[in-house]
Amino acid sequence: MGNVFVIAEHRQGLLRDVSLEMLTVASQVTQQSGGDVVAVLLGSGVDSLADKLAGYSDKVLYVEDPLFADFNAEKYQRVLVELIKQNNPELVMIGHTTQGVDIAPALAVETKIPFISDVIKMEFADGKLQPVRQYYQGKVNANFAFKGEPPYLITLREATLEVPEPSKQGAIEKVESPLKEDIAYRKFIEYVEAEVGDVDITQSEILVAVGRGVREDKNMPMIEELAKSINADICGSRAATDAGWLDHDRQVGTSGKTVKPKLYIAIGISGAFQHLAGMKGSKTIVAINKDPDAPIFSVADFAIIDDLFKVVPKLTEKLKELKG
């Protein structure tokens, strides 16, 4: 098989974890099928990132140009089209991230490369690549196949695996940028940091987390009483912050905060992968949800499969009693 291209993702001078996760999956693929793992880095003055990628790659293609000081999907697309044409890799991997979803579908349309998004793992069937993705927020898995000739393109879901210690030492090859001038129709302006709220939930020792299952704002006092009884801070899934039950700085997940408290009590949270990525490092996880198939149970230490409206008030009452 040919090489596997991994499009490295970085922001504000830091490599994003998904880059090394993709290289790890790429190594697993090439171990079975042959070919080299090639990291592709577009950036400006990010030599240290190239070095880090080299530890997980057989080769690093480093396009260094001030035009890549900040992310711009259109510029990435222009360059990737050319690099794919020149190098003809078997497989191209992009992170299924806010960067990746901004590039990959357009790249696939332009290049007419078979494309499968949000892949959770790469398997082989009859010697051919078999990407696996999900439907219905993780309730159904789907095996896919590419048709026609490579190259093939996937976006890979982040935070699905542990990255091992580096074991390669790929050569870093600087490549002249195929993009000769800036692009006018899309401009990067600036980054805006998240607003800082009254409580920093990343520092909380105990968190009570709420999700869609809590249903409406008027049920929040029940949650607040539980939190108060154990000196916990309250956080939530995207559904809870979108609905306005909580401020956005209380959101746990890929687009919010990553938390690692001693105790995380998830109430009415089904556990979309974006949420799990933000809380699975918690020391002890309790999940209360009436759906036995909820993915939250895959990371829980204690599970109550029941109606939260019956469980939570009693839990609060008993905790108050026991804590005196």
């Binding site: 494309f115 998004s117 129709y185 995207r238 109550i304 019956k310």
Partner: protein, 262 residues
């Protein structure tokens, strides 16, 4: 500001049991309740907010059978001007690039400034249709948008990145924006609007109407193939607490307190 907003009818499977058929090709959706996709609901609201501020029209586009008409009428009731539903079973809806090709054909040759989609569909989670559609049309795009500021010939958008960070990007119009949930507060349809919506135009188009041939967008034309579906094993090491709801609560409280977890 003329906007097309693209909406999809999806099942709510957050608490539903999902079963795959014997052939492993489809799920039994007979017991699901359906509604507008969450992110698309925010896209509709954003389109209407932009129209209220800048004038222009909002046209609603959806793909699928007649079952979607209730959802489409609801978007019209909130402020959409007219709607198009593409109904053609030959379209390979498993492939987001084929869906994008069809939707691009709907707006090709029409006057518009903005095309809004939800950033993700709750059923297939591809997050691909909007960005692919922009490429089909040869116009600019931004994915995961959580704030829109319309200017003269340009639009400034805030893209939601990971960890609470945003990226401000300026695009030339026309442009495709894929809208993230939480960008606004979707309104409820007013009673008067619901009445008026019944009289608004809802055109149903086939591939032939769009000037597309079947072999451009059917399953055989796709470069990807869905082999089979299966229910993943949920590997859980959790201690499942049994009993009546109140008993479960008491047992958990004791485990937390006596286990020194609090």
């Amino acid at each position: 500001m003329n906007t097309f907003v693209f909406i999809k009818r999806v099942p709510d499977t957050s608490e539903a049991e999902v079963k795959v058929d014997a052939a492993g090709k489809d799920v039994d959706s007979s017991k699901f309740s359906f509604d507008i996709n969450d992110a698309d609901n925010y896209a509709v609201e954003e389109a209407i907010v932009i129209k209220e501020a800048a004038g222009g029209t909002v046209k609603v586009v959806s793909m699928g059978p007649k079952d979607g008409d209730v959802m489409i009428r609801m978007a019209l009731a909130k402020g959409g001007d007219s709607a198009i539903r593409v109904d053609d079973p030959r379209i390979n809806v498993v492939d987001p690039l084929k869906v994008a090709k069809v939707l691009a054909a709907v707006v090709k040759g029409q006057e518009f400034d903005l095309l809004l989609t939800g950033c993700m569909a709750g059923d297939d989670g591809n997050m691909s249709v909007g960005v692919a559609m922009a490429e089909e049309l040869g116009i600019s795009h931004a994915a995961m948008v959580k704030k829109v500021e319309v200017g003269e010939g340009k639009v400034k958008v805030y893209r939601e990145l990971e960890g609470g960070l945003s990226e401000v990007v300026e695009l030339d119009l026309p442009a495709v924006l894929t809208i993230q949930t939480g960008i606004n507060e979707p309104r409820y349809a007013p009673i008067k609007g619901i009445r008026m919506a019944q009289k608004k135009e809802l055109k149903v188009l086939s591939l032939d109407d769009l000037g597309l041939s079947e072999d451009e967008v059917n399953e055989a034309s796709s470069l990807i193939e869905l082999k089979n579906l299966y229910i993943p094993e949920v590997v859980s090491n959790a201690e499942i607490i049994e009993g009546a709801p109140e008993e479960k609560a008491e047992i958990l409280a004791e485990k937390l307190v006596k286990g020194g977890l609090l």
